[in-house]
């Protein structure tokens, strides 16, 4: 749905144009402002539902009396330009001009890492939401950076657990040629031997992101005669790959394991071409069970935005719930105190309890693992179950080995 947004704040900023504005004091009793930067323009399919749900959650928190004993929260949304250079400037603007208490958001991994290092330099909390790279909480982790969403490693591990013990030995990997694809492939190769003894990788394909030559890639994968395929492609690459693979019969009698494919963002475009029986991570929002708070969230979202929730929506909503809980517990905007409170903070969210693990700053929010199917000519998931992130994290030894001492 096309939506043209020009926020009131933005118009205010326009009116003041280049004139210097006095910084709003974040004094006692005032509204608490939080900076949210994301690729609203470049990654609109994810980021707009994400922002919708954040606004929904923000309004609900404020309607219920705010945080820290009656203070309102307000998210200041900014486009990060989808490049690290723009993102760091925007982060600077949020801190200096908009006087936000701390930062949240980002989509791309390189943007997330650049903002994380910037936050570390400025000693401000940065709650990364969408970047999936393991480096954010491992090798390049720092005191000020935390991440909510399950990382590449965690999601790959969930999928590998789902195929544990199957008699599928010859594997082919297809992944987009950038960090997310490369590290998902590396994680898969690392985890596979323990799950399926004797398994081997017989082919690897790394098409350039957004520029897959689907025919050639499908041909190259088929030649290696694999029993199973691990797919990391998403978006337009995935659609092209699936169509080509369906027509050429690449997926017949093969086990296909695929990251993120069950998320509505990527499942909806596949439509009736959605392949049957792929094992995927995703978000079957209409089949969630055992989470009493989830259905009210979905109902309110659909009523307000006249659209079904996406994975981004869920993430945005949970982010605000964690932030509200953090502010209530810390009862201060002092960033050092906030970070101390955030360590091992448990929040009851719409997906159940989520903790921010203290040793690696990784949230235990999970995701759903299930199989793809076609229902009413639309892509859907079946047999989905919620995989709690807490069960799939890096071990404490691995974290200690990877993270520099704080």
């Amino acid at each position: 749905m096309p939506r043209f947004t020009l926020s009131r704040r933005a118009l205010g900023a326009a009116a003041l144009a280049t004139a210097a504005r006095p910084a709003f004091a974040q004094g006692a009793g005032g509204t608490i402002r939080i900076g949210e930067l994301n690729s609203y323009s470049r990654m609109a399919a994810f980021a707009v539902p994400y922002r919708n749900a954040m606004q929904q959650a923000q309004d609900e928190v404020n309607a219920a009396g705010g945080v820290m004993g009656g203070r309102r929260i307000e998210f200041v949304f900014r486009d990060d330009g989808a490049t690290p250079g723009d993102a760091v400037r925007v982060a600077e603007e949020l801190l200096t001009r908009e006087n936000v208490a701390f930062l949240a958001g980002t989509f791309l991994s390189n943007v997330g890492l650049a903002v994380s290092d910037f936050a570390n330099q400025r000693r401000r909390l940065f709650l990364a939401t969408e970047p999936l790279t393991d480096a954010l909480t491992m090798a390049q982790g720092n005191r000020y950076t935390w991440r909510l969403r399950p990382s590449t490693f965690m999601q790959t591990r969930m999928l590998v657990e789902a195929i544990r013990g199957r008699n599928v030995r010859r594997w082919a990997i297809v992944a987009p040629n950038y960090e997310y694809g490369q590290s998902a492939a590396a994680n898969f190769k690392r985890l596979l031997p323990a799950a399926i003894p004797g398994a081997e990788i017989v082919a690897e394909q790394f098409p350039a992101l957004g520029r897959i030559d689907a025919g050639a890639t499908v041909g190259a994968l088929g030649r290696s005669r694999p029993d199973g395929i691990f797919n990391v492609l998403f978006g337009p690459d995935l659609t092209a790959f699936v169509r080509e693979g369906n027509t050429r019969g690449l997926f017949e009698r093969r086990t296909v394991v695929s990251l993120l494919t069950g998320e509505p963002e990527y499942l909806i475009p596949l439509g009736e071409e959605t392949p049957e029986g792929w094992i995927v991570t995703g978000y079957p929002w209409d089949q969630v069970t055992g989470m009493p708070a989830h259905q009210p969230f979905v109902d309110a979202y659909r009523a307000r935005f006249n659209d079904t929730p996406r994975k981004g929506s869920l993430l945005g909503y949970v982010t605000v719930q964690v932030i509200a809980n953090l502010l209530n517990r810390a009862n201060t905007l002092d960033n050092e105190a906030l970070i101390n409170t955030l360590a091992d903070l448990r929040t009851d969210t719409v997906v159940g309890p989520v903790a921010m693990r203290g040793i690696d700053h990784q949230g235990t929010m999970g995701t759903w693992v299930g199989e793809t199917t076609v229902r009413d000519r639309q892509g859907a998931m079946r047999n989905a179950r919620y995989a709690d992130g807490a069960d799939y994290m890096f071990s404490a030894e691995e974290v200690r080995a990877a993270r520099r001492p704080a």
Partner: protein, 617 residues
């Protein structure tokens, strides 16, 4: 050998080649006639796909017949052709008299606008179109399944080639297109209505791009990123084939299709750069592409584009510079964020100035200047992160690292001229980008490296701002000095007529090579300063968008002026920084601003200023 597999793979390559050719043929025809480097060609391709996923399903509601499917595809192509006419009549026609390069800026504005219009009209979700009725199945070839639709696509390319041949050789319009491609001035002198010819050419070019996009809908989903993913490849095809040569584009598309189909088998990770490697090799061996010819007008005296006479500054301009300099130094009095933006403007101004040293003064149009900016940033950043060097040493090294690469690449670049030179700089930039992107162990891959922060004494925004101001002003003044020096004058002579300069004893190639190296070093210094202002380095610093930004800045400022690019950098960055926080659709407003400035200041900001000065009081 698995012959059956190799055959199927070759057929896949042919199908891709065919699609690529349909798109590239439009680009090459438009360039041949109008000499416009049409960045918006990718946007027309995207619009073709979006038009088709809208029109075709609607038609198939009536009857799921192949005829209606292809009728829908053709209608989409025609709709896009009309959009091409709209662009020509409302925008390009108004700026045919300004330097050719300037039109590139206008088409870049169109790219930005179309990106956001597509989001506004069709929404952000990818839209998967219907498959072609009657061609959904696979055909068995040597016991291997091959999609019937791709078999069909294989024949589309030659069919389009044949139709274009008929058009070119059997119609008056085609004869005029060929004539204009060979010698545009002569066609004009013979009384051909150029406006009609250009409008017709833009229609043909845009319709071919639209056809290419519409034919893709049974294979890929219409998505908002497809414009940029195709445009670089389409340029590569037209350049390898020879700009303006339709058969050349066909040959090049075949070559690239097969290269990709078999390349993924041998080097599954190298697809990012394979086509650019091929382009670099072809251009080094055959400077005008496979079937291209040197421009007929190359030897003729043309009105030079760029800095003609670097006059001394008049009083008013001097006053303006003093005020601007004082404002830059006084920024810390304003607020912290203004300092941050001011720092970036200074850095970008140096990069744009160094580019104009090549473009405006030397006539060496570089489409890959960001490579040297980025390599300077990586040189500085890697020294800090990997070798633990202090900021001062890293900053001093940045121009040398970038300069070394500029010397290496420039050695090949300066052998060419015009658009081929520009495309070779682009190819080298993409190769550098791919190396930085793939060499994860050293460069950190696309995640980049973090922790590139200034030394303690320069850590505050204000001190770093003044450090940047000092470096940039010194570098700009030095480069300006070179422009005024005999070396600069020699470069201008070589730009205006390489033969005459050669005849007077100037070693044109060596002069250009030195200029390329010097400009690369200056960009490298800017890149180093940029890295320390951001704290991180990543491959986007070397990317095509960054190069296009630099070009936009200097065109906005005016390539005829020595100091114009500085104003251009300030204006471009300020406009972007102004619109980005306001709305998700900042690209729309940035594009509109660019086009507005192109129309209002057709000779750039500096040209406008000079016009004010000349006006009698």
């Amino acid at each position: 050998m698995e012959w059956d597999f190799l055959l199927i793979q070759a057929l896949s390559g042919l199908a891709s080649a065919s699609s690529l050719f349909v798109i590239a043929s439009g680009l090459t025809i438009v360039f041949g006639v109008t000499r416009i480097v049409n960045f918006a060609h990718g946007s027309f391709y995207m619009l073709g796909a979006y038009a088709a996923v809208t029109i075709v399903p609607w038609l198939l509601e009536f009857d799921r017949s192949p005829a209606l499917f292809f009728a829908g595809v053709l209608v989409s192509a025609l709709v896009v052709g009309v959009l091409g006419v709209v662009m020509e009549v409302t925008l390009l026609r108004r700026i045919y008299r300004v330097p050719e390069l300037f039109q590139l800026l206008a088409t870049f504005g169109v790219v930005l606008i179309v990106q956001d219009l597509v989001l506004l009209i069709w929404g952000p979700m990818d839209i998967t179109g219907p498959r072609a009725p009657g061609l959904r199945h696979a055909v068995l070839i040597l016991d291997q399944r091959f999609p019937a639709y791709e078999l069909f696509l294989i024949f589309v390319g030659p069919a389009v080639l044949a139709l274009l041949w008929l058009l070119m050789h059997r119609t008056r319009f085609g004869v005029l297109i060929r004539a204009a491609t060979q010698d545009r001035e002569m066609v004009g002198a013979l009384g051909v209505n150029q406006a009609m010819l250009f409008t017709g050419t833009l229609f043909l070019g845009a319709a071919l791009a639209g056809l290419g996009g519409a034919l893709q809908i049974p294979r890929v989903s219409a998505n908002p990123q497809m414009d940029l993913s195709i445009i670089a490849e389409a340029f590569v095809v037209t350049v390898i084939g020879g700009m303006g040569s339709v058969p050349g584009a066909f040959l090049a598309a075949l070559l690239i299709g097969q290269l990709q189909a078999f390349g993924v088998l041998v080097f599954p990770k190298i697809t990012l750069v394979l086509v650019f490697l091929l382009m670099a090799v072809v251009l080094v061996v055959k400077p005008w592409g496979l079937l291209g010819k040197p421009e007929a007008a190359a030897g003729r005296a043309v009105l030079p584009e760029g800095i003609i006479d670097p006059k001394r500054l008049d009083r008013a301009s001097q006053a303006l510079i003093v005020v601007a300099l004082a404002a830059v130094l006084a920024l810390p009095l304003l607020d912290a964020y203004a300092v941050k933006v001011g720092t970036e403007v200074l850095i970008l101004a140096l990069a744009a100035f160094s580019l104009n040293f090549l473009v405006g003064n030397g006539g060496i149009v570089s489409f890959g200047h960001a490579a040297y900016f980025g390599l300077g940033a990586y040189g500085a950043g890697l020294l800090v992160v990997r070798a633990g060097a202090p900021m001062e040493a890293a900053l001093a090294a940045a121009p040398f690292v970038a300069g070394a690469f500029a010397a290496l690449f420039g050695f090949f670049v300066v052998r060419l001229s015009g658009i081929y030179l520009a495309m070779l700089t682009l190819a080298f930039a993409q190769i550098a980008y791919a190396v930085v992107f793939q060499w994860v162990e050293v460069t950190g891959g696309d995640n980049g490296l973090v922790g590139v922060w200034p030394s303690r004494w320069a850590a505050s925004r204000e001190v770093y701002h003044h450090l940047v101001a000092a470096c940039c002003v010194v570098a700009i003044v030095a480069l300006r000095r070179v422009i005024h020096a005999p070396f600069g004058a020699t470069l201008r002579a070589a730009r205006d007529s390489a033969q005459r300069a050669d005849a007077t004893g100037v070693d044109v190639r060596t002069h250009r090579w030195l200029a390329f190296t010097l400009a690369g070093s200056a960009a490298g210094l800017a890149g180093g300063l940029y890295a320390f202002s951001k704290g991180s380095i990543d491959p986007t610093l070397l990317g095509i968008p960054m190069s296009v930004d630099f070009l936009s800045m200097l065109l906005l400022g005016g390539i005829q002026s020595v100091l114009g690019p500085i104003a251009g950098a300030a204006a471009f960055h300020a406009v972007k920084d102004f619109f980005m926080p306001l709305t998700d659709h900042w690209r729309l407003f940035l594009g509109l601003s660019i086009i507005a400035m192109v129309l209002v200041f057709p000779r750039g900001l500096a040209g406008f200023w000079a016009g004010l000065r000349r006006r009698p009081a």
